[in-house]
Amino acid sequence: MGLSSLSLTERDSRAMLEAIGVASVDELFADIPEALRLDRPLALEPALSEPELVAHLEELASRNVHTGAELSFLGAGMYDHYVPAVVDAILARGEFLTAYTPYQPELSQGVLQAIFEYQTAICELTGMDVSNASGYDGTAVAADACYVAKHVTGLSKVVVTEATSPQVRQVVKTYAPGFGLEVVEVPHRGGATDPDELRAAAEGAACAIFQQPNAFGCLEPAPQLAAAANDAGALAIAHVDPVSLGVLEAPGRYGCALAIGEGQGAGNALSYGGPHYGFLAAKAEYTRRLPGRIIGETTDASGARGYVLTLQTREQHIRREKATSNITTNQTLLAIAGLVHLSWLGPQGLREVGETCMALSAYAKERLTERGLDLVFPEQATFKEFAVSVGRSGREAIRAARRQGVHPGYALGRDYPGLEEALLVAVTEKRTPADIDRLAEVLGG
C-alpha cells in the first residue's frame, strides 16, 4: 500500500490546486510558521512494497514462539481457548471492520443490533440488567467500576482482594490518584479470601472487588464475599471469567452490584495481550452512572424497531467535564467476536467447555501430584487453572521445560513473594489428556 493507496493523478492534483487557487501543495501549509516546519524528510526506513512488507513481518513473527509451536499451559489472565472459524469469517466482513462508532443509526443498524445482542449476552452470563458496549480490557473496566462506585456512594475507599489479578490491581492503583481514591488490599488465606476480613476492610468503602476464579485459579466463596461487602455497605463487584459462567453462578444472582471481566477467552486470539475487550455490567439502578457507549431499542415514525446510541447524556461528547467517563473508541469489533463465539457455543456449548476445562485440569492435578509435585492450595476447588509447586524456582522450571517443547505455566513468584516455586498451570479445552501426560513427564522429571 503506502503511496499506492493514494489515487490522485498529476492531472487531478493540478486541477484541484487550480480550483483552490494556489500554485502548489506547499502553499496549503502557509499557516504553519516556517520555523516549525520539518526541513528534512522523516528519518524512517525506506518504503516496503507489499511482498517485501509481508516478508519482513513474517521474519519478525517467526521469532515468536506461539501456542501452535509449543505445548502451552500459560494462562494468568489470557487463555488459549478455541476460537471458531465463524468468528474469523464474520470479522472479515468489511462493513463491520471498517465502520466507526454508529453515530448515524440509519446507516448502522447492523452494528447497533450486534452490540445490543452483545449487551444481552453479557447480561445473561453475569445475571445483570445492563451492560455497556465494551471497555478497553479486563484491567481498565476495574478502574471504570471504581469510578462508578465512587459516584454512587460518595465514598473514596476501594477494596480489592490480593487474589485479584496483579495487573487489575496495578491499573486500579494507577487510576486512583486522579479519581481521588484510596486502595486497600485484602490478603488471601491459603489461596482464597476470608469473608470476615473482606467485611472489615469494606467498612466505609465504595466497593469491594474480588475475582472469581481468582488469580491462583481458586474458587472464592463468592456469595459470602458479596454478602460481606453488602453488609459493610460497599458495592460488591465480581471480576469474572466469561468462559466459566456456563458452570459457575452468575454474580447478579449472589448480590453483586457490578460484574466486570476480561473478554479475551470468548472470541479473541491471544495476540500478545491485545486488542481484546473488557466487559462491564450492572444492576439496573446503576444504569445512568455507567461509563461508555450503551445501545438502546426504540422505533421510527412508522413504529419499526431500531437501535441507537442511548443515555448519551452520561457521555463526554455531551457532558464533557461532568461525564461518567472519557471513553470514546471502545472495543466493538472484539466484542462482536465475543458475541459470535458465544452464539456458536450456545448455552450447552458454554457449559461443555467449562466442564471439559474442569475435567482436564482435575486430571492434570492428579497426574502432577502422582509425579510427586505438590499443589500449592490443595484445599481449594479450582476451575481451569491451578497452582503447583515445582520444588525449585518457577522461572528455572519454565526454562527447562521449554527446552523440551512445553511451556508449563506462569511463574507466580513474579507477583507473589513467597510463591517463587509455584507455577500457575492453565488447561483449556484445546489441551488433551495426552498433552497433560507430557506436562507431567516434563515437570515431574
Binding site: L8, L44, L60, T98, T174, A323, P347, M358
Partner: protein
Amino acid sequence: MKLVYEKSQPGRRASSLPRYDLPAAEVPEELRRAEAPRLPELAEPELVRHFTELSTRTFGIDTGFYPLGSCTMKHNPRVNERVVALPGFRDLHPHQEEEASQGALELMWRLQGILAEIAGLEAVSLQPAAGSQGELTGLMLMRAYFADRGEERDTVITADTAHGTNPASVTMAGYRLQKVETDVRGNLDLDDLRVKVNERTAGLMLTNPSTLGLFDEHIAEVAGIFHAAGALLYYDGANLNAVCGISRPGDMGFEIVHFNLHKTFSQPHGGGGPGGGPVAVRASLEPYLPVPAVVREGETFRLDYDRPRSIGKVRGFCGPFGVFVRAYAYIRSYGPDLRRMSETAVLNANYLLARLREAYELPFDRLCMHEFVLSARGLKREHGVSALDVAKRLMDYGFHPPTIYFPLVVPEALMIEPTETETKETLDAFVEAMLAIAREAAEQPALLKEAPHGRPVGRLDEVKAARRAIVRFGFEQHPDLSQESGEPRSLEAQKGA
C-alpha cells in the same frame, strides 16, 4: 429484522467440542450455576446468515465515502489484516518468555522509534488502549512530573473547540478545568490565555490543527506562555493526519503527544474500536511512562519493569499489540513518503472546501488542513433545514454524513474530513450531492426533513430510547415499543471523536 435470540430454538447449536473420557469434576454446590444463560441456539448456517445480514446493514469505508470529521476514515489496507493474522503474532501469549517473543518486542521497539521521530520527541509508551486513555495517561504523567518537583498545580486548560474527551479526561485525572476561547481567526485567544495561565496551571491540552481544521498560527507564542509559567503542553493527536512529516508536535513546543493509531495509521475502526493511543514524551517525562518499557540491549529486546518513578499501568500487558502490528506495517509501507499521506489529505480537504464554500457558510475564511467545518446556519435561517437534515439527506446520495453539531463553537456545524485515500471522482460526486442538497433545501425542504429514504429504518426516536432505556433483549418480557405513538425526536448531538 429479528434479533439472534428471536431466531433461537432449544436444542440447536453450531458448536462441536472435544469430549474426553475423564471423570467429571464437580463445582461446589453453592457456586454452581443454577440457571443456564439464555445464549442464542442456532446451527451454523443461520448463525452465518444472521451476522452477514447485520453486516449488510452497516456502512463502512469499504461501502463508500465516509467523511466523518475528526475520525480520519481512510482506507484500511488489507495486507495489514494478513500480517496481523500470522500465527507468530496472533497466537503469541503475552506471558511468553522474552527470548521467545523477540519478534514482537522488536516490532514494538521499532514502532516506538518511528512514533518518536514523527512526534519529534524522545520516548514512547505504546500501552494506552485508545486516544482517550492516551489523554488520561498524559495527564497522569503531568501529575507525576509536578509531584516529583514538589509543585502544586491543579488546573488544566483546554480550548473551547476541544473534543469532549479532553475536559472529561481532565476531571478523571483529578484536575480542575479551565477553558480558553477561540479568536476571530480560529486560533486560541492569546489575550484570554495570558489572563488564565499562572503558577497553578499544570498544562494545556490542544489539538493542532484544531477541530476546526485550522493550524494555530500562534502556536509558538502559546507554548511560550505556558513554558514561562512552568507548565506543560499536551498534544491531542486526533488530527495528526494533517501534519505527518510536515510539522512535528515536539518542534511546536509540546512535551506530551498521544497518537490515534486507528485514525492516522489505519487500524480499522471496527464499528467503534479497537484503537490504540500511544504516548510520546520529552526525555524529562520518560521516567514516569507506564511499565513495562520495551528496551533494546545489544541485539536483544526485553521488557523493563524497573522504573521506580513510573505512574504504573493503564492497561494490561504491553497494550493492544495487534493494533501495533497494523500501524507498523502501514508506516513501513510509506517510509519517509508518509509526508505525501498528509499532503494529499490536506489537498483533498481544501478542494472540497473550495467547491462547497459558496453553498454553505464558512465560519473561518482560511485555507484548512485535513478537515474543515461548514455551517448550515444559512439553510436553517432561510429554509428551516438543519445540519441534521443535510446529514440524513446525504445518505440518500450514498454517502456517510460528516460529523455534525461539533465543534460546539460553530452553530449547525458540518465537519468534513475526506482523508487522502479518495479519488477526485468521489470528491466531485460528494460536492455535487452537497450542492444538490443545498438547492433542495430551498425548493423541496420536506425531502430533507423526511430523509433518509429507503433505509431499513427512518429517523429513530432517541428521546424515547433514553426514556425507556431498553438496553437488552427481555425474552418473554420484551416490551413492544411500536404501539407507543409520537414523532421521533433526536438529541441532535451525534458528534465525532
